[in-house]
């Protein structure tokens, strides 16, 4: 059973560093699995590298988290953000890196955070992405999945995943105004934005991790504790 969907805030588990590590590992697995699909999407309106870019970056994140796992959610995210910046390159590297770094900084060194706190931290992160890249909603970028995801996350993990997925699909009819796809003008219409698709994967991994944590929680109380 997913935390937050059928309980009130007060009884939803809080999230520790281990939860965040498992989230990013799940994200890495999802990216590895879907790398070819992301690259295909990028081939249509970009330069055919988004899948391999993120795969390289998240593999580095997983390595780093395994080697020295941080012990606070904030540190997990800032570390992962720095790793993405140092290993991805391209547009998505600094953007995803900034998303996670800024969110991590917002979380500070609290050992546990709530879903709502995470939502607020990600909201800051998404703001930083918008500022860095100069894009807004509807420009056919990762923001079109991330912005609704943050709103969803204030309600529940499941709502975040659904919103991200819908946001990603909603980029199909849009005309790109930022990033490489913008070079295509009207020819960008009719294709899903690869960054929005990968954002949906990351948020999907978050929701999956929360579901699994809640299930485990029912059995042996692993990682996510009641507040």
């Amino acid at each position: 059973m997913e935390p937050g969907t059928d309980r009130d805030e007060g009884t939803e588990p809080t999230l520790d560093a281990d939860f965040f590590i498992r989230w990013l590992d799940a994200a890495a697995a999802a990216v590895a699995r879907d790398a070819d699909r992301l690259t295909e999407l990028d081939a249509a309106i970009g330069d055919a590298d988004h899948g391999s870019n993120l795969n390289r970056g998240f593999a580095a994140v997983t390595r780093r988290l395994t080697e020295k796992p941080p012990n606070a959610p904030g540190a997990v995210l800032t570390g992962a953000g720095r790793t993405l910046i140092s290993s991805v390159g391209g547009a998505s590297g600094p953007l995803y890196g900034t998303l996670l770094r800024r969110a991590g900084k917002e979380l500070g060194d609290a050992p546990r955070v709530s879903r709502v706190q995470l939502a607020e931290a990600l909201r800051s992160g998404v703001g930083a992405v918008a500022e860095l890249g100069g894009a807004g909603g509807g420009d056919k970028t990762m923001l079109d999945a991330l912005q609704p995801a943050v709103e969803g996350l204030t309600r529940s993990f499941g709502a975040a995943a659904t919103a991200a997925e819908e946001g990603a699909l909603a980029t199909v009819p849009l005309r790109a105004r930022r990033g490489r796809a913008a070079y295509l003008g009207d020819r960008s219409i009719g294709h899903q934005d690869p960054g929005a698709a990968s954002s949906a994967l990351l948020i999907g991994a978050l929701a999956d991790t929360a579901t699994r944590a809640a299930d485990d929680d029912g059995h042996r109380g692993n990682g996510a504790d009641r507040v």
Binding site: D47, G133, A182, G185
Partner: protein
């Protein structure tokens, strides 16, 4: 799509080992992906650093050497490098006179160099950045702005020449910016390229059709047309360039192959470009014909015009000694 590689993941690393093996005049840090001229930092000289995704060779690594770049940072294929590379390069080439970053205008390159500039500044290195956005296939100022393509060669060369002469960072930046602002490029693809990661073409281009206004990353162009003769392509290209910027000075001309177009065809195309320029009263001062800013194995060509006054032309003629551009040395 068959490629002369070991595994797709190691293409850039292998190429850098090759550069290290055959160019003793360069220091190639394969692990950290930085190519630096052997004698860097050169005392009292501004350091020039560029970089970008791989797959455009000889750009940028082939342009490292006296009279041009001090360092290049190659990213993965078609993927901008990461800030760590530029910071390392800046540290390696800064003699105390500061460093100029020459950046092609792609979101990825711009963002990564931006972060690098911040980090380098934190380490006490004076950094200026000049962005090249010379591709007239795109309307200026719209969306992500214009892409940086062939004009980069002229910026790197002319800024490199004035830096080699000992000019201070402000002056080198000014020359680079002037050149970046006045260069114009336009490219055409007859066949798409294939990236090692993807193992196949980045877009479909049926027999009998071509793409006008392509980028250098396997992006499709702005317009697809029925196949044209070399003369017609030259007219369309020169029109696009001259309509954007009618040069009142002589121009340096780059007739650039995208990778798989035979030099025989490229020289034939150059003759049509020269004709088309002449018909529009544009005066070529010097012309380069060859593969300089490529897109892996794409078939096609681009033309870049770089207006020059006497000073820039004089700078162009000063000695340059790099793997891919060399004269007077």
């Amino acid at each position: 799509m068959k490629m002369l590689i070991n595994v797709p993941e190691r293409v850039v690393e292998d190429a850098l080992r090759g550069m290290a093996a055959v160019h003793p005049e360069l220091t190639v840090d394969v692990a950290n992906r930085v190519v630096v001229r052997r004698d860097a930092p050169v005392a009292n000289k501004v350091g020039l650093v560029s970089g970008g995704g791989s797959g455009h060779e000889p750009l940028h690594g082939g342009f490292v050497g006296p009279g041009m770049l001090d360092a290049a940072c190659p990213g993965e294929v078609f993927t901008s490098p990461v800030p760590d590379q530029m910071v390392r390069a800046a540290a390696a080439v800064d003699s105390g006179e500061g460093v100029l970053f020459i950046v092609k205008n792609y979101t990825g390159d711009v963002l990564n160099f931006e972060m690098a500039a911040e980090l380098a500044a934190e380490e006490g290195i004076r950094v200026e950045t000049v962005t090249v956005s010379d591709d007239v296939a795109l309307a200026a100022g719209e969306g992500s702005g214009r892409r940086g393509t062939g004009g980069t060669l002229f910026v790197e060369r002319l800024a490199g020449a004035v830096a080699e002469a000992g000019a201070p960072l402000e002056r080198v930046t000014e020359v680079a910016r002037r050149v970046a602002d006045s260069c114009r490029s336009f490219g055409v693809a007859l066949a798409p390229c294939s990236t090692p990661a993807r193992g196949g073409p980045t877009f479909d281009l049926p027999e009998g059709e071509l793409e006008l206004g392509i980028g250098i990353h396997g992006e499709p162009g702005r317009e697809r047309r029925g196949m044209m003769t070399s003369g017609e392509i030259a007219d369309a290209t020169v029109d696009a360039l001259v309509n954007d910027l009618r040069p009142d000075e002589p121009v340096l001309v780059l007739v650039n192959g995208m990778g798989a177009t035979p030099l025989l065809e490229l020289y034939g195309y150059a003759s049509e470009v020269m004709r088309a320029l002449g018909e529009r009263s544009v005066v070529p001062a010097r012309t380069l014909v060859g593969d300089y800013v490529t897109s892996l194995d794409m078939a096609g060509c681009s033309v870049t015009l770089c207006p020059v006054d006497e000073e820039l032309l004089r700078l162009w003629e000063t000695p340059v000694r790099t793997p891919a551009l060399r004269w007077g040395a």
